[in-house]
């Protein structure tokens, strides 16, 4: 059974149906990406999984638990963690305080060693450990958002547009680290507009358009697909 199995979810913002029956599966150890234009429902899918905007109908099964009705904090406890869209770090807290909040639900004694692990992944964060997060550059804030999400020790990491607003060289650095996090054993569901990088790092991809899945295939074949190239790869 897949680690994450989303079946036919419909999610609404008030009366507006943002997801019109999305089905996605993620196997353990995979990197899966959702690509699509603005308003396609990529972020809403992630918010549905993490419980911030629960779906009205449909099922989300994670690691043997039905979570479409579960409050966000219990979903984090089960092992799903999200680096939300727009990073949303706590600007007036230090880098360390941000990371500690990422471990909010944990009380074990390996929190310190996990902060160490984040610092190894993002050495820049260690240099800025005592700095207020809001004073850092966009790239550093993105590193912090990912690091903070890792602090809950998730089985599944949800990344929402990690390349947003970053210089190309930084995007590359972030994606190298995303691949490294996956090699260390974390399954990743990645949402991107920047389809180039997303399809490179992932094994499978889903194309979303106005709340439905229009295509799903291994990332390598999506990269070759002329429609995808025209719409999302700028070819």
């Amino acid at each position: 059974m897949a680690l994450l199995d989303i079946e036919d979810i419909h999610t609404f913002y008030g009366g507006i149906e943002a997801l019109k029956g999305i089905s996605v599966t993620v196997e353990e150890g995979e990197v899966v990406t959702l690509i699509g234009a603005n308003g396609a429902g990529k972020s809403t899918t992630l918010r549905s999984i993490s419980g911030l905007t629960p779906p009205r109908t449909g099922s989300i099964n994670f690691d043997g638990h039905e979570i479409s009705d579960t409050p966000p904090q219990d979903i984090v406890k089960l092992g799903i963690s999200q680096a939300p869209e727009g990073r949303r770090i706590f600007p007036r807290m230090t880098v360390r305080e941000n990371l500690e909040l990422g471990a909010f639900l944990r009380s074990d004694d390996s929190i310190e060693s996990d902060i160490r692990r984040v610092f190894d992944l993002f050495p820049r964060l260690e240099e800025r450990e005592r700095q207020k997060a809001g004073t850092m550059s966009g790239g550093e804030q993105q590193m912090l958002a990912i690091g903070r999400a890792l602090m809950s020790n998730p089985k599944l990491l949800l990344l929402d547009e990690p390349s947003m607003g970053l210089a190309p060289v930084l995007v590359e650095r972030i994606y190298e680290t995303v691949a490294e996090i996956n090699r260390q054993g974390t399954t990743i569901l990645l949402v991107e507009q920047n389809a180039n990088y997303a399809l490179e790092v992932s094994s499978r991809g889903y194309v979303l358009e106005t709340g439905t899945v229009t295509m799903t295939a291994p990332s390598s074949s999506l990269r070759e697909n002329p429609d995808v190239q025209r719409a999302y790869l700028g070819a």
Binding site: V76, P91, L101, S152
Partner: protein
């Protein structure tokens, strides 16, 4: 204000105070020593005055306001939920004393009354009479429940909308208090005594302390001081606890906090409940001290008065909030009515300055917003926001550009 000058730049006074603050912050022993000196002075203070002097009276009131301001600070300062109906908890705390420490319910138990651990003074009267400590505990419980009830409908709201809903609840409580005479609880008992007020309220009778009376205010003073110390201790412990961090996370960014697994409902309700509980303690104490519970005490302006204390002192900063409460309290009960009251008549104007109290508070707040928007003793995070231009909005803006 994003380009406000850095802390203390070209301002020798601010520079010095900033240096002193940094010194105290970095040296815990110095901080403790200072706290101890202040405590000793505060304990000795009433002995320098006549036991029934107006100054001691003002101090007792100020201490009760400190408790209240620290409670509101948890809701507004720590958790960032703008509560404009805080007077509701003052009212409920005060009525707890009115109900459970007076002869108000004269017919209970066949007119013999109910007495639990009361001393000789209250022991013979009809009505319900609980020991003062029990009254405080009941006040905390009732106000905490009220805090949760008022908090529940605001859970899905943000910012200004929370303010409006809480404001409405404050008014509801006041209107119920005013009209409580028409709410019958069986027999001749009514919910409140409306504008007539419930009076007298039992004075505390505590072992090891001399009699609480209007002629010797020292027992009142020390009781209030103990309450302040308890509330300050709880405030510091909460601030540095997991719950305290959850409050700050919610204040900084609710969505991000939820993503990290901070349970929004529970955390917000805890803020409302603890904040309300402190308001209830202060309310029960003040009812007992003023010897009356009168529906006219619970005007909306009182909520603003307490809010002004924490804004003046420095929202979120425990020491700052205490200073703000003491300063505004003295402005209210001493500076305006005793010192400046005849200024208008000297100028040939025909009104009493106390009628302008809230105008003066408003003016003070405006001056503060211009000169020192972060408060007298700011909390660090807010100071950063105001002086270095680091805020949530800016961070998000950067992402979306």
């Amino acid at each position: 204000m994003a380009t406000a000058r850095p802390v203390g730049a070209r301002n020798p006074v601010a520079e010095t105070t900033h240096a002193i603050r940094e010194r105290i912050r970095s040296d815990r022993r110095l901080a403790w020593a200072l706290a101890l000196v202040v405590l000793v002075l505060v304990i000795l203070l009433p002995y320098a005055f006549d036991p029934a002097s107006p100054f001691v009276d003002h101090c007792v009131t100020a201490l009760a306001y400190v408790v209240m301001a620290l409670g509101l600070n948890i809701v507004v300062g720590f958790a960032g939920l703008l509560d404009l109906g805080y007077v509701a908890f003052f009212a409920i705390g005060a009525y707890t004393a009115g109900w459970f420490a007076s002869a108000f319910f004269a017919t209970v138990n066949g007119g013999k009354g109910i007495h639990i651990l009361t001393g000789t003074l209250a022991g013979a009267q009809p009505g319900i009479h609980l020991n003062f400590i029990l009254v405080l505990i009941v006040a905390v419980i009732l106000t905490a429940i009220a805090g949760i009830l008022i908090g529940l409908p605001t859970l899905r709201l943000r910012g200004d909308y929370i303010a409006i809903v809480t404001l409405a609840f404050g008014e509801i409580v006041r209107v119920v208090a005013v009209n409580g005479q028409s709410i019958h609880l069986g027999g001749t008992n009514t919910l409140t005594a409306g504008r007539q007020g419930i009076t007298p309220i039992d004075s505390p009778e505590l072992p090891g302390m001399s009699a609480f009376s209007p002629l010797d205010l020292r027992p009142w003073y020390f009781t209030a001081l103990v309450l302040v110390l308890i509330v300050v201790f709880v405030n510091f412990r909460l601030r540095d606890s997991r719950l305290g961090r959850a409050w700050i996370a919610i204040r900084e960014d609710e969505i991000a906090a939820a993503s990290m697994g901070v349970p929004l409902v529970k955390t917000k309700l805890m803020a409302y409940a603890t904040g309300a509980g402190f308001g209830g303690i202060a309310g029960a104490f003040l009812a007992s001290y003023l010897n009356t519970v009168n529906a006219d005490q619970f005007e909306f302006s009182f909520s603003i008065f307490v809010l002004a204390m924490i804004i003046l002192g420095g929202i979120g900063n425990i020491v700052g909030v205490m200073v703000g409460a003491i300063v505004l309290s003295f402005v209210n009960v001493w500076l305006i009515p005793d010192v400046l009251h005849d200024v208008p008549s000297k100028l040939g104007l025909n009104f009493d300055l106390t009628e302008l109290s809230f105008g003066i508070f408003g003016f003070l707040l405006v001056i503060m917003m211009v000169l020192r928007p972060e408060g007298l003793i700011p909390e660090r995070r807010r100071q950063i926001e105001l002086t270095e231009g680091v805020g949530t909005d800016e961070a998000l803006f950067e992402v979306r550009s």
